[in-house]
Subunit: 338 residues, 2 copies
DNA sequence: CTGTTAGCGCCTTCAC
DNA sequence: GTGAAGGCGCTAACAG
């Protein structure tokens, strides 16, 4: 049985100061700004901290200093593996600077996004990192008014709320389309998640192909292997002679691969497959998956850098950063690939 | 160029109260405890909130009320996909109750764990959810003293810091060992991550087999497809006639499957493979992966429930919850499986 | 149902 | 280098 514990009256800085025989404020400075305190005093305070088991209360500190040392990270869902490297790197980079990450999940829903952002703002974060652009106009205004540094990521915009680090999904789609053209595939299909960015990539893909009649299987985001299998099944229903599939994620591509294998289709000989995201598994599968590489960790660490800079009152000269992308050709589209 | 924005002097509850023509505390109650305020007043306050664009400051509220409405979630690394469903469910369940999650990453390191826990405590979270048991003894003591509700998960212990929700890794290993015995495999191997819980499962596996000479490939956590491939290569070096492999995760099992395929070994005819965790992809691959199912989302939602209960001053009657596990037989070990 | 009073624990501002 | 006030924005506790 586990009961609410009796309050050990919590140790405050006041107690530490008393034990150390200095004033409250001196104790405070010894801990957070040691440069202006004598070494002897610092030692005394440190001892008192040990003796009392003092742990600072960042809520109180944040209230006065207006720096909560928290950064909000907003993702569609934590399980969208696409964003994990970004969030992981962001979390690590910020932790190294004494900042923690609060996570919010929008479920790809603009209304939830707005609600989540409001809750986040009420925690006074020193920065907000979004995966994707802010959808709701109301939320944009609120964010601007709040004065909190905001980094939108995994996309690009001429007019970000504040800063943006990403790449053009239209161009990604275009690059894949160009690759399809260069390979001369005619009977092609698209397997895509229903989220906005995946749809943008599809748009770029179609524009480059110069076609609008391409068989498409749209599956609900987030994607999964099972959905990838289903998508290929749908595409083959629409176009039995399918030569190549463009997928909105490596996970979907994996599912397409499995479904192809289950139907006795050889990849790439009978069916070529392209993914997106350069997930770890894609490089090591047989066949390895041709994909579009995006620097997820780079986005996370750069976002941390920009936020930290702004927290220190610095001006960010390049608030719009295009990290680009890179098509990686592997065996799922070419028997000759590395 | 993005510069630190000019401070729009932030709107406080004081401003709202003035606009609404009520006292500060009435405004406060209208928002956070509407039951005790007249409907007319509530309406006035709501209007004033709209008009001013007020967003509450939870730091200040938390300071006074001693409820930060934050819960810390500590994981080895965000990218360990094993824990994602737990963290995702936890986050959603808590968000529904007005709580946010702060994440900390330990990198499977006891020292970092201690540091992370200290930082977390200093944020006054209303609860702490650990994946795994708390390693450091110092951290345990601090946690107990802090009085914060703590849920350790994904493991079991007679003497948790506070509460624990999970299952026995020894028993999981034992169950897999029993399955191996029942199938009569003699030339077996273990592919395992280097983390503590994976090692416990291996121990249980060996104990049930009654052997200590089983070829083992230990790969650094967190696991990946590439590491799974490497592990099988190592095992085949040690035991060319390998009949079956016990893997510490479905990801490793996937890698083993790929490596087997690359070497022309048929699964399960030439080599049987068992994973752990029941990842989404395992059920849908060809062959599907025999695995041990653990209720990750259940752990997350139950953890949220217990913490919320304790936040409301309730007593948790069952602070030690064994959620058990279930071996799921699929095609990677049996051509007859579903 | 509403208001007054008194802080929460710490840090900024100013003196010494 | 140190200290004494004052207040960050909000909410318990008690009055009316």
């Amino acid at each position: 049985m586990s009961t609410p514990s009796p309050h050990h009256k919590p140790v405050t800085l006041h107690d530490v100061a008393k034990v150390a025989g200095v004033s409250l404020i001196t104790a405070s400075r010894a801990l957070s700004n040691p440069g202006v305190v004598s070494d002897k005093t610092i030692a005394k305070v440190r001892e008192a901290v040990e003796a009392t088991g003092y742990i600072p209360n960042l809520l109180a500190g944040g209230l006065k200093s207006k720096r909560s040392r928290m950064v909000a990270a907003i993702v569609p869902a934590l399980s969208v593996s696409q964003f994990l490297p970004t969030v992981q790197t962001l979390t690590s980079a910020l932790a190294a600077g004494g900042y923690q990450v609060i996570v919010g999940q929008t479920n790809y829903d603009a209304e939830r996004e707005e609600a989540v952002l409001n809750t986040m703002i009420s925690r006074q974060p020193d920065g907000i990192v979004m995966t994707g652009l802010v959808q709701s106009q109301k939320a944009r205004e609120r964010l601007v008014r709040s004065g909190i540094p905001v980094v939108e990521t995994w996309d690009l915009s001429d007019r970000p709320v504040d800063m943006v680090i990403g790449f053009s999904h239209l161009k990604v789609g275009g690059a894949v389309g160009g690759y399809f053209l260069s390979r001369g595939w005619k009977k092609v299909g698209v397997a895509t998640g229903s989220d906005h960015r995946a749809m943008l990539r599809r748009e770029g893909f179609l524009a480059t192909l110069g076609r609008s009649d391409v068989p498409t299987a749209v599956v609900p985001a987030p994607s999964s292997l099972a959905l990838g299998r289903r998508a290929l099944a749908e595409l083959l229903d629409q176009e039995p002679g399918l030569e190549a599939v463009c997928c909105s994620s490596d996970t979907l591509a994996h599912g397409v691969l499995v479904e192809a294998q289950a139907r006795g289709l050889r990849v790439p000989e009978d069916l070529a497959v392209v993914g997106f995201g350069n997930a770890e598994f894609g490089a090591h599968m047989v066949p390895s998956i041709t994909t579009v590489h995006v620097d997820g960790p780079g986005i996370g660490s750069l976002a941390a850098q920009l936020i930290l800079a702004r927290c220190n009152g610095e001006t960010v000269e390049q608030p719009i950063v295009d990290l680009g992308f890179r098509l990686i050709e592997r065996r799922s589209t070419s028997v000759d690939a590395a």
